[in-house]
Amino acid sequence: MFAALLVLFLAVVAADALLSAAVIYHLRQYTLPGWTAAKLVIPLYLILASLLLIVALAYFLRVPWADYPTPREFLSTAAP
């Protein structure tokens, strides 16, 4: 359980970081100097994304990993 969710967490964070970096690169590269909206949106996005990342990490750490049955325990309880 822990390993599966850790892999999922890392995969989502990596994909999100790549996508965010690509979008921010495009916004910085292709906006003309007088276009101000992009300059506001980029820090706003980074703040919100960081908050959500911290929330996700906090919930990940609050999961009671030790209380979950191991696959062997799960199979033994599920067997008739």
């Binding site: 003309l32 100097p33 009671p64």
Partner: protein
């Protein structure tokens, strides 16, 4: 990055009218609001969601979902923001942002413009004052710009600068880029 000529000034920057994006915004609102509502009120109908072993995992997955959703919204907004038409006093630049890595830029000099037609397609376009601009040029055929807000102003500008001889256009370096 668009490079302007030394004596070129941006006169108007056009993005699609906000009305066109009402549909996607409505979908975004549903995608944003529904999963947290399910997590919040779901245990009433599905008690398993409030189980101490399940609840933290569900909340963790919800936080990951919102993180991805935020990036998706930024991606869509970027497509809207970078998809523009720029009218300078010398040319019209059409930047089409199809996707993040699919960008198409075309331009033609305004002196080649022969005719500009405005089409207001329906009641909502009439009320909200947006329409389609069809620009007939001598060399590039017909250009169509859809869902243009303030289309009468855009038409006037295009016609005005298409009829002004290049040498008589005043150079205003301090107004080089119009805010967008």
């Amino acid at each position: 990055m668009i490079q302007l000529a030394p004596n070129e000034t941006v006169r108007f920057v056009i993005r699609r009218h906000w009305f066109v994006y009402l549909g996607p915004v409505f979908v975004f609102l549903i995608l944003f609001a529904v999963p947290p509502l399910i997590v919040r009120s779901g245990p009433r109908y599905l008690p398993l969601l409030s189980h101490p072993l399940v609840s933290p995992v569900v909340k963790f997955l919800l936080a990951l979902y919102l993180l991805g959703f935020l990036a998706y919204v930024l991606l869509h907004w970027t497509k809207y923001y970078l998809d523009t038409w720029i009218i300078t006093d010398q040319r019209l630049i059409d930047i089409e942002q199809h996707g993040l890595f699919h960008r198409e830029i075309s331009e033609f000099p305004l002196e080649r413009v022969q005719n500009v037609t405005i089409e207001i397609p329906g009641f909502i376009a009439t009320v909200l004052k947006f329409g389609n601009l069809k620009i007939q040029t001598a060399s590039h055929g017909e250009f169509t710009i859809t869902e243009v807000p303030n289309c009468y102003h855009a038409k006037e500008l295009i016609l005005k600068y298409s009829r002004v001889p290049r040498q008589t256009i005043p150079h205003e370096p301090e107004k080089k880029i119009m805010a967008g």
